[in-house]
C-alpha cells in the first residue's frame, strides 16, 4: 500500500472553511497527514501516511495579516502549516475538548465573509474578462480573422463557465456563512 495520497482540487470539493477543516481532521484520524500548505495546494496536495492523530485544523483567510498574526496563534499552541493563496492553515493536536480558534459566532461569520471576499476578487476579474471579450466580439467581430474570432469565442465560453461556477460558490458561501 502506498504511503502517499494525492488529492486534486480539494478546495473545490470542500467550499466552506469548516468543511475543509473537518475533512483535514478526518484524514489525520485515518493517518493521512499534510505538514505544509503551499500556493497550489488547493489544486494539488500530497498526504503522507503516518500514525492516526487527532488534530484540530484552522482555515483562516487573511490577505495581509499584521506582524503579530503568527506569534498570536503560536502562543495559543497552534502550529503553522503555511498558506494556500490567502488562506492560512494551522493545526493543534488534542485530546478531549476540541480547541477552537474562532470562539464566538461573530468571528466565525467574519472568517466566512473573508472567504467570500477572496472568491469575489476572482469573480470580478473573470467577469471583467468575459465583458471585455464580449465587447470585442460584439463591436469588432468584422475586423477579426476567423481564427481569432473562434479563439475569442472559446475563451468567452471558458471564462463564462468559471464566472458561473464562482457565482454559485459565492451564493453557497453566503447561504452558509454561519457554519
Amino acid at each position: 500500500m502506498s504511503d502517499r495520497k494525492c488529492v486534486l482540487f480539494s478546495a473545490f470539493r470542500y467550499l466552506l472553511p469548516s468543511d475543509y477543516e473537518n475533512w483535514l481532521e478526518r484524514m489525520a484520524t485515518e493517518g493521512w497527514h499534510i505538514n505544509h500548505f503551499r500556493q497550489w495546494s488547493s489544486i494539488f496536495m500530497v498526504f503522507r501516511k503516518g500514525k492516526p492523530k487527532r488534530y484540530r485544523f484552522v482555515y483562516d483567510p487573511q490577505v495581509s495579516p499584521r506582524k503579530e498574526y503568527i506569534p498570536t496563534y503560536e502562543q495559543f499552541g497552534w502550529e503553522y502549516l503555511g498558506r494556500m493563496a490567502s488562506a492560512h492553515f494551522w493545526r493543534m493536536e488534542y485530546e478531549g475538548e476540541r480547541p477552537e480558534a474562532f470562539s464566538d459566532h461573530e468571528s466565525i461569520v467574519k472568517r466566512n465573509r473573508r472567504t467570500i471576499a477572496a472568491v469575489s476578487v476572482s469573480f470580478i476579474i473573470f467577469l471583467m474578462a468575459v465583458l471585455a471579450i464580449g465587447m470585442v466580439l460584439l463591436f469588432f467581430a468584422d475586423s477579426l480573422s476567423n481564427t481569432d474570432r473562434t479563439q475569442l469565442v472559446i475563451a468567452e465560453g471558458f471564462f463564462g463557465v468559471i464566472v458561473i461556477a464562482l457565482g454559485v460558490i459565492m451564493l453557497f458561501l453566503r447561504k452558509n456563512k454561519s457554519r
Binding site: 484552522v58 499584521r66 506569534p71 498570536t72 496563534y73 502562543q75 495559543f76 480558534a101 470562539s103 464566538d104
Partner: protein
C-alpha cells in the same frame, strides 16, 4: 471636533457590544498581550469563555484600528496593548447601558 467624531463613530460601531469584545476591552484596562487576555477572561468567567486565537487576533485588530486600544510595546514577539481614553469612554457607556438593562429587567 475630531474627538467628538471618533466618539460618535465608536458609539455607532460598538454600542451595543458583543460579550467577546466587551471582555477584551475590559481586560485591557491593564496592559496585556493576546494570550494573557484569553487567560484573564477564562479566569474571570470561571472557564465559561475561552477565547480562540483567531477571535482575539481579529478583535484586537478591530479595536486598535478604531482607536479603542493601542499597542505600547513588544515582549518576546508579543505585542502588549492597553485601553485608550476613547476605549474607556465606550466601555463606560456600554456598562451603563447593560446596568440599565439589568435594572429594567429585574424590576
Amino acid at each position: 471636533m475630531g474627538i467628538d467624531n471618533n466618539l460618535k463613530k465608536a458609539r455607532m460601531r460598538y454600542i451595543p457590544m458583543s460579550e467577546t469584545m466587551l471582555y477584551i476591552l475590559f481586560s485591557l484596562k491593564q496592559e496585556r498581550h493576546g494570550y494573557a487576555i484569553m487567560q484573564y477572561v477564562k479566569k474571570l468567567t470561571k472557564g465559561r469563555i475561552t477565547l480562540g486565537a483567531g477571535t482575539v487576533y481579529s478583535s484586537i485588530g478591530k479595536l486598535e484600528n478604531d482607536g479603542l486600544i493601542k499597542g505600547i510595546c513588544e515582549e518576546e514577539r508579543r505585542k502588549i496593548y492597553i485601553i485608550t481614553a476613547l476605549g474607556r469612554e465606550i466601555l463606560c457607556e456600554e456598562t451603563a447601558r447593560i446596568t440599565e438593562l439589568y435594572k429594567n429587567i429585574k424590576e
